[in-house]
């Protein structure tokens, strides 16, 4: 193998490590934004969805997503075993585990652990890889005349997680005490954990986005470097804008929302990070940082869908917006760069069809689970905490 090939493999593996570590980031954000009595359960769910995801994605998920060129579906080969391609298997595995983790956040503090394990597996080996196949595995969205462009997964990963999270949070209902007439605040128990989680996620995104180039040799090097810049600027812009919006709107800059703002910028830029300029990335970040505040309020106060960590808004809404904005800001094909409406149309088609898939299947899944084994812990368990009841101990002693 020549040096360039080895270099590419090295880069994919390193990026995979960074994306792996995002699991810790998600776990910390979710733990920090919820109450101390449920924190062990949250950690356990995050730990398990990566573990189960790793195993099941290897067993079947990877094949469904990348195993063939069908319009809707890859192939059904069990126990992937292709020595020359293990770096890709690794990179795709750590990606796959992300979608389930997003759902975990939106349904935190009230979901039955055993049920969670089941839907975590279903998301990782059914919902995510099938729609993923449409875009990245050679499926119908990638063979459109103007192919749908989602470079690193604003829609394929984040929106899928976000819309499934919406289906879940809606089906399971709000936490006790969250709504009595109006929306109440249920403050997260540890903002330092939340902030550390966001720093880890931001770092992980330097694997998530530039790693999706899947190579760094030759001209890929400059492309990768450019993605670092667009990713970082969008995150920074998102954080800054959210801070100022909350400042003007609530009178004070809100910490947990600002943290969400950085993530919103990151999710927003993920689809187009390879194809926008630094200025375009900054504008996408600004838009995401703006949208996320109103989206969180909308779901929380209007729709009364209880999402403790803001996962639906950050991943679902900002993922969708970011994907659509590619149609405007793409230097190659974007409306603002003279590319007309073709790309924007494909983007909209992709956002809607994948959104419908993830939300639809999510809804069916959660309704079935609710009717069969039950989705929610008992009232007493919820009040006294999932740690004591699901795991027999408290996490802080």
């Amino acid at each position: 193998m020549d040096a360039n090939s080895a270099l590419d493999i090295l880069w994919v593996l390193l990026a995979g490590i960074l994306v792996f570590f995002m699991q810790a980031g998600f776990a910390l954000v979710e733990a920090g934004f919820t109450r101390a009595k449920n924190v062990g359960n949250i950690i356990m769910k995050n730990f398990m969805d990566f573990s189960l995801g790793s195993l099941t994605f290897w067993i079947i998920g990877y094949s469904i997503m990348y195993g063939g060129e069908g319009a809707f579906f890859g192939a059904f080969d069990f126990f992937y075993n292709e020595p020359g391609d293990y770096h890709n298997l690794f990179f795709q595995t750590v990606f796959a585990a992300t979608a389930a983790t997003i759902v975990s956040g939106a349904m935190a503090e009230r979901t039955k652990f055993s049920t969670y394990l089941i839907f975590s597996v279903v998301i990782t080996v059914v919902i995510y890889p099938i729609s993923g196949h449409w875009v990245w595995g050679g499926g119908w969205l990638s063979t459109l005349d103007t192919p749908f462009h989602d470079f690193a997964g604003s829609t394929v990963v984040h929106s899928v997680g976000g819309w499934a999270a919406l289906a879940g949070a809606w089906t399971i209902g709000p936490r006790i005490g969250k709504y009595n007439g109006t929306a109440n605040a249920i403050p997260g128990h540890n903002m330092v954990l939340g902030a550390l989680g966001v720093f880890i996620l931001w770092m992980g995104w330097f694997g998530f986005n530039p790693g999706s180039q899947l190579a760094i040799s030759g001209d890929n090097a400059n492309a990768v470097a450019s993605i670092f810049i667009t990713t970082n600027l969008a995150a920074a812009a998102g954080a800054i804008v959210t801070m100022f919006v909350t400042w003007f709107r609530y009178g004070k800059p809100d910490l947990s929302m600002t943290l969400n703002g950085g993530l919103a910028g990151l999710v927003g830029i993920t689809a187009g990070c390879d194809i926008v300029t630094p200025a375009g990335a900054t504008i996408i970040g600004i838009i995401a940082g703006f949208v996320v505040v109103f989206s969180i309020e909308f779901f929380d106060k209007k729709l009364k869908v209880d999402d403790p960590v803001g996962a639906i808004s950050v991943h679902g809404v900002c993922g969708a917006i970011g994907t659509l904005l590619v149609g405007l800001f793409a230097t190659d094909g974007g409306l603002f760069y003279g590319g007309g409406f073709a790309l924007l149309g494909s983007q909209a088609l992709g956002v809607v069809s994948i959104g419908a898939w993830a939300f639809g299947l999510g809804l069916i899944l959660f309704r079935v689970l609710k009717a069969t084994m039950g989705l929610r812990v008992s009232e007493q368990e919820e009040r006294e905490g999932l740690d004591i009841h699901e795991h027999g101990q408290s996490s802080y002693n």
Binding site: A185, P187, D254, V293
Partner: protein
């Protein structure tokens, strides 16, 4: 013997401690409590205002001989006061017996401040 329980602002604790020391009251226990009362604090989390009447306070518990009651209450009162709503309360009740664990002695003398 009397038990004095003062519920004060966290932020007045240092002054109160100094005022008590000046009166030779160098024995007491304290812990943090939450107070519900007329004082209001506006908290904000993710755009939602909440928790407006629960305030972090410190409860100081001092057992004194009867003759020291007055000066202790006075010291507490003046050091804990800011004049703003939420300064807190002082409650006094009777204590029947006091033991010093180390020596096994009992009675008001165990409250001596040397």
């Amino acid at each position: 013997m009397k038990k004095i329980e003062a519920i004060i602002r966290l932020t007045r604790y240092e002054s109160v401690k100094k005022a008590l020391e000046e009166q030779d009251i160098t024995f007491f226990s304290y812990w943090d409590v939450r107070g519900v009362g007329t004082a209001r604090e506006g908290h904000l989390y993710r755009g939602t205002v909440y928790d407006t009447s629960i305030i972090e306070r410190r409860l100081i518990s001092i057992i004194v001989r009867d003759e020291n009651l007055e000066k202790t209450v006075q010291a507490l009162m003046s050091a804990a006061r800011t004049g703003e709503i939420g300064d807190g309360r002082i409650f006094v009740s009777e204590v029947e017996e006091s033991y010093r664990i180390r020596t096994g002695e009992s009675g008001p003398e165990t409250l001596y401040t040397k």
